[in-house]
Structure formats: structure tokens, C-alpha cells
């Protein structure tokens, strides 16, 4: 029974890692590659670590495995967000099939700050207010 669970979890984990590798080699765009890296790889590694915890059946090992899984779950989205933000600033273009770019015109290119309105519209509005007065 334990062997069955080990085989199930490790097979699922290896397949998800393989899917992540295929995704990172086949995806047309940096942002899609980051997405693959964050989702599929995290699930695959988590499943493989869980199979190790089931194999050893030791309190120390299970605690260690839980620490690694929680650490990966916490840090993967943060790292993906940071690297995606940098990629947007360094001027990586979206894939031509991407439908919408929500950030377009909302980042101040000089100071790297995010604003809720389009920067061009805002400066135009300020300009019109000044001319009204």
C-alpha cells in the first residue's frame, strides 16, 4: 500500500516536471514561460517531496518536507512576480497572439511606479485643468 502511494505520487510529480520542461521549451513568450515555471514545477516538486515523506515515515523527515513545500509555495509566486516585472521594464514584448496588455501605459517608465490611470490621460487632464484656470 505504501509502495502504491510512493509510485503514484512520484509518477505524478515527474510527469508535472516533464510538462514544465516541455512548456518552458515550447511556449512562445517570456511571460508564458514564467507562468509554466511557477505552476507546474511547484506542483511536481511538491508531489515528489510528499512521496519522500511517505517513504521515510519519520517525524523529522515529514517536518523537513513540509518546510520545503511551504517555502517553495511562498517563494515561487514572489520570484515570478519580480522577474516578470523586470521583464516588462527591460522591454520584452508580449507574444503576438496575446489579446490584452493591462499594464500598457500604466507604468511610469522613469520612476518604475504603477498608477491606476493611464499616464498620458492624467497629464492631459492636469494640462486642461491648468488651462481652465
Amino acid at each position: 500500500m505504501i509502495d502504491f502511494f510512493i509510485i503514484l505520487l512520484s509518477t505524478a510529480g515527474a510527469l508535472f516536471s516533464l510538462l514544465a520542461a516541455i512548456g518552458i521549451i515550447r511556449m512562445p513568450d517570456t511571460y508564458l514561460r514564467i507562468s509554466v515555471n511557477t505552476k507546474a514545477a511547484t506542483l511536481g516538486v511538491g508531489l515528489m517531496l510528499a512521496s519522500a515523506a511517505i517513504f521515510f515515515q519519520d517525524f523529522a523527515v515529514t517536518t523537513r518536507v513540509q518546510a520545503i513545500i511551504i517555502f517553495i509555495l511562498l517563494t515561487a509566486p514572489v520570484g515570478a512576480h519580480l522577474i516578470g516585472r523586470t521583464s516588462y521594464f527591460t522591454g520584452n514584448r508580449l507574444w503576438k497572439g496575446s489579446v490584452i496588455d493591462d499594464l500598457k501605459g500604466k507604468y511610469n517608465i522613469k520612476s518604475h511606479e504603477l498608477q491606476s490611470e493611464n499616464i498620458d490621460d492624467e497629464s492631459k487632464k492636469r494640462h486642461s485643468e491648468r488651462t481652465d484656470q
Binding site: 514545477a41 519522500a52 520570484g79 522577474i83
Partner: protein
């Protein structure tokens, strides 16, 4: 075929194959960002290989190394993104 044989002859080759495929992207990657992402994925799949290898050799101490490797991968990604963004700002 025992469980350990299955792990050694089926799971480990799948993981090594995926590492090789990520390494192709690491060599090819058109921008630096792609290389950073590929490096992160190489380390993440390496953690999986370490956990399977610790099952095969019945040595639970390898999981400590997996923990440290996860830490270093995160630090590497954060440092790379920080300095790449800074370099772009000064231009």
C-alpha cells in the same frame, strides 16, 4: 520490479530528460530573463531529483540540501531581477 527499481529506471530518467530540455532553453534563451527563469526551473527540478534519490539510497539527510537549494534559487532570482531592473534604470 520493485519500487526502488521503478524509481531508479523510470522516474529518474524522466527527470533527467526534463532537466536537459530546460537546459536547452538556458542555452538558447533570447533574453537574460529567459535564462534566469530556466536556471530557477533547473534548481526546482533538482530538488525533485534529490528527494527521489534520497528515497533510493535511504538517506534522509539529502533533504537538508534540498531545503538550502530552494533558498539559494529564490535568492538568485530576486538578486537577478533587482540588478537587471537597476541596470535598465540607469541607462
Amino acid at each position: 520490479m520493485s519500487t526502488l527499481d521503478y524509481l531508479q529506471y523510470v522516474i529518474i530518467p524522466i527527470l533527467v530528460l526534463s532537466e536537459l530540455m530546460v537546459f536547452v532553453r538556458f542555452i538558447k534563451g533570447p533574453s537574460v530573463i529567459d535564462r534566469v527563469v530556466a536556471l530557477d526551473l533547473i534548481v526546482t527540478i533538482g530538488i525533485g531529483i534529490i528527494s527521489i534519490y534520497s528515497i533510493i539510497t535511504d538517506t534522509s539527510n539529502f533533504l537538508d540540501i534540498a531545503m538550502i537549494l530552494a533558498l539559494i534559487a529564490f535568492l538568485g532570482t530576486v538578486a537577478f531581477s533587482y540588478y537587471l531592473e537597476k541596470r535598465n534604470k540607469n541607462d
